[in-house]
């Protein structure tokens, strides 16, 4: 099994899923920037991050990050409301947007990676926090410009090693 999924396919999946969610659910066209790789080492961050775990023959994480201000604007557009602060409704809306984007990235990657399960999204808002995974694979990061601000969609997936069949204690191997 290869150690990485096809990066071009992953970038295309992120671009397509993000553009689709923004144009369909928010009526907003967003512009994709130059994708890059980021080491899995966590670095201090600010703002809102939506995270979803992916499991299967390939396991990993997908995330959507932006500033609190942009999260308020996106949620306002999504729900046709106005939000003066990042409250529970904004976190819920960002969780659902993360779910739709990463879910559709997952759907697009399943042809190569096989069927994958998805966790329930988790959303964090804060200042000077770090979000990391236990994976050693680099993140594939696709930045987008939205309303003059930056939004990033990231994914990291690594192959799940085949687990040897468990042997009950005290049992001799067959054969």
């Amino acid at each position: 099994m290869p150690q990485e999924l096809d990066q071009a396919r992953m970038i295309a999946a992120i671009r397509h899923a993000t553009g689709d969610v923004f144009s369909t659910m928010l009526g907003v066209e967003i512009t994709s920037g130059e994708p890059y790789r980021q080491p899995c080492r966590p670095e201090p961050a600010n703002g809102v991050i939506g995270l979803i775990g992916l499991t299967g023959k390939w396991t990993g994480t997908g995330s959507v990050t932006c500033t609190g201000d942009l999260a308020r604007k996106i949620s306002g557009q999504f729900l046709m409301s106005e939000f003066s602060s990042v409250d529970q409704e904004v976190l819920d809306a960002m969780g659902e947007i993360t779910n739709m984007i990463i879910g559709n990235v997952k759907n697009a990657l399943e042809e190569e990676a096989g069927p994958m399960g998805m966790s329930i999204p988790m959303v964090v808002f804060g200042h000077n926090f770090m979000a990391g995974t236990t994976h050693s694979t680099d993140w594939v990061v696709v930045p987008f410009a939205c309303d003059g601000e930056r939004l990033e969609v990231k994914a990291c997936l690594s192959p799940q090693p085949d687990k040897p069949a468990r042997r009950r204690p005290g049992c001799a191997p067959e054969g």
Partner: protein, 123 residues
Amino acid sequence: MPVDVLIVDDSAAIRKILQRVLAQANLGVGKVYEAADGREAMDAVKQQPVGLILSDINMPNMDGLQFLGELRSHDQWKHVPVLMISTEGSQTKVMEAVQLGAQGFVRKPFTADQIKEKLAGIL
């Protein structure tokens, strides 16, 4: 006669959007109830009969497919139309939903027109 509807989704945002779509659809929808997962949805249908259910798949506690299976195992809810609305787009999940008795499947992200079109076919 207006049809009462149950919306099942762990996202309050999606429940709100679907409420708005139903209000605009002009399809004879009556009261709209909400549940945040399959377990809450089972409690809701026990308390209040509904004529249509819109359900997500990926939810905590009891997911949409487990809910659909549980619903169909009771005679009184065997024929309540269920429209699945989910990010899950794999053929396996769609087939599983159809085999469990879902009347339709809409993939997120969705437009209001896609939901209205599906509902017009069901109601």
